[in-house]
């Protein structure tokens, strides 16, 4: 019971610290989205009903890995140990971030989508030379949301795993990644085999199968990234 209380208290405290850290991250995301949409309306005489959703996905795909690179660094992990925490909790909180941040980002882009639609309708009612294309249906929206989500989670998970290893074992990880990249560039057979593997993984007859495959890759990334953090010392 005592152990459960300690664990719960520590987890609350850790999540609170990440909530505080990610307030500014979310502010940057909102800033990017606002900037993209305002510039689109200000500079273009046409708009698409999916531009804010696309902008949300692209921003998320770039920002989430950057966040993962930062939170797995030694200096950031060290600061989390200012208050009681164990390594399992640290990994769990990172997984929660990888799973929750894309939802928040995508829901925010949906909010921007509503604003964009409203702004387009208003512009259409007052401007004669403004074109607005509406290409989203309910089904395509739901599939798009689910696929965008799992793509962001998968990229976030892989980045988290790679940098969890990199910061703990810089030389070994650099050698492995460097060798892999060189082989990809200079060895044709290796490159072809790798592309075949990618094609095999990502070729899917349905979005559902692709979702499952990406989920499996994410789970493997979580398991692989857990190992170096579990063993690390706080120096």
């Amino acid at each position: 019971m005592l152990s459960q209380n300690s664990r719960l208290r520590a987890m609350k405290s850790l999540l609170y610290s990440y909530y505080v850290d990610f307030k500014s991250f979310y502010g940057i995301y909102i800033g990017i989205m606002t900037g993209l949409l305002l510039s689109k309306f200000a500079l273009s005489s046409s708009a698409s009903g999916s531009s804010s959703l696309s902008a949300g996905l692209v921003s998320g795909v770039f920002m989430l890995p950057i966040a993962m690179i930062i939170i797995t660094s030694n200096s950031e992990l060290l600061k989390k140990f200012s208050f009681p925490v164990d390594r399992n909790m640290l990994v769990l909180s990172h997984i929660i971030l990888i799973l929750v941040l894309p939802v928040i980002m995508l829901l925010t882009s949906c909010g921007f989508h509503l604003l964009e639609t409203l702004a387009a309708e208003l512009t259409l009612s007052v401007a004669e030379n403004f074109f607005y294309t509406w290409v989203i249906t309910k089904d395509s929206f739901l599939v798009g949301f689910a696929m965008s989500y799992i793509i962001m989670v998968c990229i976030g998970g892989i980045t988290w795993m790679v940098f969890s290893w990199f910061y703990r074992h810089k030389i070994a990880t650099s050698v492995v990644c460097g060798t892999f990249l060189l082989a990809l560039v200079y060895l044709r057979d290796f490159r072809d085999a790798f592309l075949k593997l990618i094609n095999f993984i990502f070729y899917s007859p349905t979005p559902g199968i692709l979702f499952l495959k990406l989920s499996a890759i994410t789970l493997i990334s979580f398991a692989a990234g857990y190992i170096p953090i579990k063993r690390m010392e706080v120096k």
């Binding site: 009681p84 164990d86 120096k235």
Partner: protein, 297 residues
Amino acid sequence: MNAVILQNLVKRFGKKNALDNISLELPENCIVGLIGRNGAGKTTLLKTLAGYLRPTEGRVTVLGQQPFDNIRVLSDIVFMDDERYNDSAVLWDLVDQAALSYSRFDKVTALKLLDYFNIPVKSKIKKLSKGMKTLFSLVIALLSRSPLTMLDEPTIGLDAAHRKEFSSLLLKDYTNHPRTIIVSSHLISELEGLMEQAVLIDQGKLIFNKAIEDVQNYALYLSGHRRVLEELEGRHSIIYKESMGEMLVLGVVNSLSEEELRELESSGVEISAMSVQDVCVNLTATNKGGVLDVIAK
């Protein structure tokens, strides 16, 4: 019950032994001074107790359990180190986080103390001076009231007035809420009035773990004619020796009998107690002579 038990603790970084076969026991509800020169292994020892580092060999028991990656123990430990907080963190958020983390944290008193020290809780850590950062970390660490409170160089950056207030605060809080407090510091003279037990380490090795009264009586300075004092060298353990012509000053481990002391006094030898600081300095002195010898060469 002991708050800390170390059995043959070794911590190795590469080929270097940062902690070398340390065995000691620290009782509950006691202020312990952890003393040692720069690089002696004080911080490594504290980090091992705080569960940051895994022992290479030996066993560490803190509050009855091993601390590495053990949240049950870690939630009862606070390790104060002012470099550890995120620079962009707002103080208010850190106070809130401390209240979430430590079940015994006294938030009301913490805020009162921060106000007293003129530390603005709405500012960010990076906006604080070195001294203010230290004070903030001290307030969080002391008011967490953790059963094992570890303060690593807690007076660095503090002015004389704040150092005095820190001592008063620590003693008062300890009296009201007894617990094991380990304070590591170079300022031994300031710690002397606080600590009940002193642990001296040097080059990763334990030199002694004694009650402060025992350290205060550990050694004597004998100052007198070389002819009288040189006789003692074979019979007693000498930890300090300085020649000035025919005069000699010896630091002797206090194993002299009443009779020997009387004889020395009657031979014109001046006897004085060796301060705790001098005991620590003399016991950890290198064999390289003094820094003035280097300049003289």
